[in-house]
């Protein structure tokens, strides 16, 4: 079922995809930190308010993934921030998340060595977003 990008339903489907992924489970063994994605508003793209995706990820499992405010996401151990259209590029495989971070297109806050240690896990998380059938607000 197609769901609106960064909605509660999208977060639920994304969580299901993460928990179905054997590749993520293997790559994220030992991960025990929360991750927040801040999706910055772009009113001209019909995404009028910033939102946060709050992910409680533990040892290869997604215990909880929910939509909150940008402030909620910013309280996480790791925070990745980008405008809506950048996240859309990531979720549609137009932009590789690792390259995006290297280029500063995705702003990362948190312990860099830890996130680099889990590069494969973050790549697989990105892959999971691409598996959620998504309706993008700027395409409606």
């Amino acid at each position: 079922m197609t769901v609106n990008a960064f909605s509660d339903e999208w977060a639920t489907q994304f969580k299901d995809e993460v928990n179905k992924s054997a590749a993520y489970k293997a790559a994220a063994k030992g991960w025990k930190w929360t991750v927040g994605l801040v999706v910055e508003a772009e009113p001209d793209k019909h995404f009028p308010e910033s939102r946060g995706l709050v992910m409680d990820l533990f040892d290869g499992d997604a215990r909880d993934i929910r939509i909150g405010s940008a402030g909620d996401a910013q309280k996480c151990d790791f925070v990745i921030t980008a405008p809506y259209s950048r996240w859309k590029q990531v979720a549609t495989k137009e932009l590789d998340a690792t390259k995006g971070m290297l280029q500063g297109k995705l702003k990362l806050k948190g312990d860099l060595p830890t996130i680099v240690r889990y590069t494969k896990a973050s790549q697989e998380l990105t892959e999971c977003t691409t598996r959620v059938p998504t309706q993008w607000p700027d395409e409606q």
Binding site: T98, K99, L102, D111, L112, P113, V116, R117
Partner: protein
């Protein structure tokens, strides 16, 4: 990001700090699939990061973003040498053999390369 990674590594690990304090080298890193790179200028305890490739580099590493991340994930083994026999190490060695990872100045600067790898490694 690479500068921040080195800073965090050096702050968290005394042996990396010792390497950092003694390293004097100009290291270029060119990420081939984004066509961007940096030059890391190590001056015995000081690091300057420049966008692009600056002249007079000691070593220049050219690879795709994923391989650059793999270099950061190389384990450091006995005698402070990078481990090339585990999964990540074999992957890096294969990229070298296939020409997908190029390191200009490697042969003449093996000690420097090993020191840079130790500072860069998050393992």
């Amino acid at each position: 990001m690479l500068g921040g990674l080195i800073e965090a590594n050096v702050q968290a690990n005394e042996s990396k700090r010792q390497d950092f304090d003694t390293l004097a080298a100009r290291v270029g890193i060119w990420v081939t699939d984004i066509d961007e790179g940096v030059t890391l200028v190590f001056e015995s305890g000081r690091l300057s990061v420049y966008n692009g490739l600056e002249p007079q580099r000691t070593i220049t590493i050219r690879a795709e973003a994923e391989t650059v991340m793999s270099l950061s994930n190389l384990k450091i083994g006995p005698f402070g040498l990078p481990v090339y026999y585990d999964g990540v190490g074999r992957g890096v060695a294969l990229k070298l053999l296939q020409g997908k990872l190029k390191i200009d100045g490697m042969m003449a600067n093996v000690t420097t390369l090993n020191r840079v790898t130790r500072i860069f490694s998050v393992q």
